[in-house]
Assembly symmetry: C2
Homo-oligomer: 224 residues x 2
């Protein structure tokens, strides 16, 4: 009998790298999926490719026209909207919905993952929202539960009584805990890329929320 199959949403960032490591640790046969959706930090897809290759898992990059999304500072076609910079962890956590929020993004990603799960006959879909993502509505525990209910009714897999299970192993973890988990799983964190607004040469800006949370996380692990 073969391994249990799983779809893993892999952006190429730190969190989804740990999620993939967890799926591998769980002995899953993975199909990693990444999205090319007009993100400023499209270079993360290079990391996604390398990380999928590191684990020798199948990898699919799905292209979506950025016009299907609304306004967001994360998208390269909205250059008038700035990616927030130089905020500390407290400012990030106390903000309202950040401009880096992309309307309906994770719902669209999970919908596509659900279709891919049916094709791949996957029993699980792994996704990486975490305790620091509380300002993104589509990263909340309520969202994960609500989408699980959709999965239970929406496809032929559900009709046949085997809808995939949504697995969100980082949901209650902060960045320090995610890094610790990643280290314990031997995840290739050095291959991941987190910046929302890289330089033209592809270097992380070190000033956006993603860069700051990543640095704080590593500093805390190193110091703790």
């Amino acid at each position: 009998m073969g391994l249990i199959k799983a779809i893993v949403l892999l952006s190429g960032g730190l969190d989804s790298t740990v999620v993939l490591a967890q799926a591998i640790k769980n002995n899953r046969e993975c199909l990693a999926i990444s999205f090319n959706y007009g993100q400023r930090h499209k270079i993360e897809l290079e990391s996604a490719k390398i990380i999928a290759a590191y684990y020798n898992v199948s990898h699919k990059i799905i292209k979506l026209d950025s016009s299907i999304f609304g306004q967001s500072s994360l998208l390269s076609n909205h250059d008038g909207v700035e990616v927030p910079k130089d905020r500390n962890a407290r400012q990030i956590s106390e903000s309202s919905t950040p401009t880096t929020y992309v309307p309906a993004r994770n719902t669209i990603f999970l919908s596509i993952a659900m279709g891919q799960a049916e094709n791949f006959q996957a029993c699980e879909i792994y996704i990486g929202p975490n305790a620091l993502d509380t300002k993104y509505p589509d990263c909340s525990e309520s969202f994960i539960h609500a989408f699980q209910r959709v999965i239970k009714v929406a496809t032929k897999q559900s009709v046949n009584g085997n809808p995939p299970r949504l697995v969100a192993p980082l949901l209650e973890l902060n960045k320090t805990e995610i890094i610790k988990l990643g280290l314990s799983l031997d995840a290739p964190l050095h291959l991941s890329f987190s910046c929302y607004d890289p330089t033209i040469l592809g270097a992380p800006c070190l000033r956006c929320d993603a860069c700051i949370l990543r640095k704080d996380g590593f500093d805390s692990v190193a110091g703790g």
Copy 2:
């Protein structure tokens, strides 16, 4: 104060034409959305354009790569899978999930509509599943309810306390009832296009499930 805004999923078929007519009757300011997703019957998009123009509503055609969907006889990139032909209404209703089912299609469409609703500040999203669609899991009442729950948590509109309402006015109607409703609303049914597998010149095949259910519906209205 302006009209209440609504997103309407408009394929160009009979059902969604009646749904748009209902939204107009309800005095909504509509943004109609159609999808170019590699369907064999892409010509339906011409009808969608004409119907949107008939009602003078904004219209957006969103392109999706057909590779994001799984196998389906409805997609032109799956030419090995035949669209079922010459089945009568009983055979259609008694079949299992038809080959014209496209994995995750309506979930993907609604996810995108949810994002568009946020951009358009829509209070409602109209969609046209009906009582004959019971073999498509993503047309069921349970699916509509489950997706409504996602809408209630997934976007900034939900955080702000005004998630759009999912409106499915045809959910309990059969084709005869839909046509009668359309006629009572003066919907331009003659502009709609239903065939799943049109000829190379764009004429309906008159033999697929969609053609047969459409013909049966009109015959029943004419005879009743």
